[in-house]
Amino acid sequence: MSLDLQTVRRVASLARLHLEEGEDHRLQAELNGILGWIEQLQEVDTADVEPLAGAGAAAMPMRDDVVTDGGQAAAVLANAPDRAGEFFAVPKVVE
């Protein structure tokens, strides 16, 4: 499988990455190089193999559904590039 330019731009949009002029061509070449190399996985017979998502414990631990932490607006906002009172501020999204 090889990526065309349109797909590179679509993936960049999904990934929320602005591409500068010419960057799409460079990424296309690099990604196709990597994907070509990854292609060798197709030769492995994986019929009847259960996918493995992680190496950790199989069962997810459960805890009571209670608040263990909170009321820390100042700490949460401490690194925000822009804020308005106790909120993160972004450019207007609704007219």
Binding site: V8, V11, A15, R16, L17, G33, Q40, A78, N79, P91
Partner: protein, 493 residues
Amino acid sequence: MHPTDFTIRGALEALNEGIVTSEALTQAHLEAIQVLNPRLNAFITVTAEKALEAARASDKRRADGLAGKLEGIPLAIKDLFCTAGTRTTAASRILGEFTPPYESTVTSNLLRDGAVFLGKVNLDEFAMGSSNATSAFGEVENPWQRSNDDGVRLVPGGSSGGSAAAVAARLALGATATDTGGSIRQPAALCGIAGIKPTYGRCSRWGVVAFASSLDTPGPVARTVEDCALLLESMSGHDPKDSTSANLPVPDFAAACARGVKGLRIGVPKEYRLEGMPDEIEALWQQGLDWLRAEGAEIVDISLPHTKYALPTYYIVAPAEASSNLARYDGVRYGARVDGEDLKDLYERTRAAGFGAEVKRRIMIGTYVLSAGYYDAYYLKAQKVRALIKRDFDFAFRDVDAILTPATPSAAFPAGEKQDDPVAMYLNDVFTVTANLAGIPGMTVPAGYDRHGLPLGLQVLARDFDEETVFAVGTTIEKAAALKALPQVRAFA
């Protein structure tokens, strides 16, 4: 002897006997950093005042009979661990001047045991790289040089390049590091020190900037196997804040170092004999096996048939998880922001300006392999091959107690040498990445030198949560090798 030449074990004894104070130890390391860091670039942030204050408080605790297990030991912290009140960058521009209001669990554990933090050390951006060349804060230089020094700067390995260089150059007695595909073991090998990636779940990932969550494993680097054991014991333990953290007791790792290898069965996987592997690496591997046999271990040929597919599997799984983890860097909640004409444009411009080329490459790969239409062909396929790689190890460990392999395919290489070809760079992790996919512990032990006098390491692998056997085998190799050479660039040299 200069205070920077102590091992951690030796420094603890000297502190106990009153031969040295933590303040003096810390001061000596800070002076060394001041002299050598402009060249090595191992530290991104040095917290000199905080370190001296912590050292004085530590000396007081010791005098009061309240000494912890690592009381007064100066350490370097990989700048991927969040440290309360100290800038944490992940070596990325996108985090800007991010200063966490919280402390990672691993660093909290070290502080609880009395360790002193000298500062935050350099790494590949978001831990993505094998030469420390992708850091937004510049490259780190390996403190080792070729014996026929031609003035060539060598890479320290990555991603924990700053951790490994700082420890090798004696700018810290030990350091925290993280390993997602080999990022502890590969730089440890290239810098001639020891480093262990423990079992996935042994150390909490809480407060460690996430790269690939099912693979990321915090661990220590230090100059001896026993020092790694002392650090790992402090760093480990169950953490309710990390749902993948193992609820198991932490063994006495330092005691395990003295066990020896008598009666152990050591596996030699035939698939690790790569075509074109330098003779000196092949010879070192054989030497390691001979040392273990001489100490009473039995050497057993084994097969790990899916080894060949580990790296391509990793380069689907890790970018997929990274693309998801790095979605949080959007210029809104923390870090740098670049304004745009609307919110989506703000996100896109912030991320384009904030991430370096390697990080963008991996986000793109990850987004693609998870996207509709390609998920089954790439991501699901990789998860199935991952299951086969784990199964290979499960089979092997029915027959053997540990596995010995080379740590890296070569010694440290010159900066810029493999930069142009991502796949060539990825091959640096060819021996280490299987342990991350399977979750098992793996350690690099310095074992010899190449023809230029550069350090080479061997890798010891063992079953899940059997770090004790790793330390026993590692110590045996370390003792047999009895290495004496020191890096040319080091404190008080």
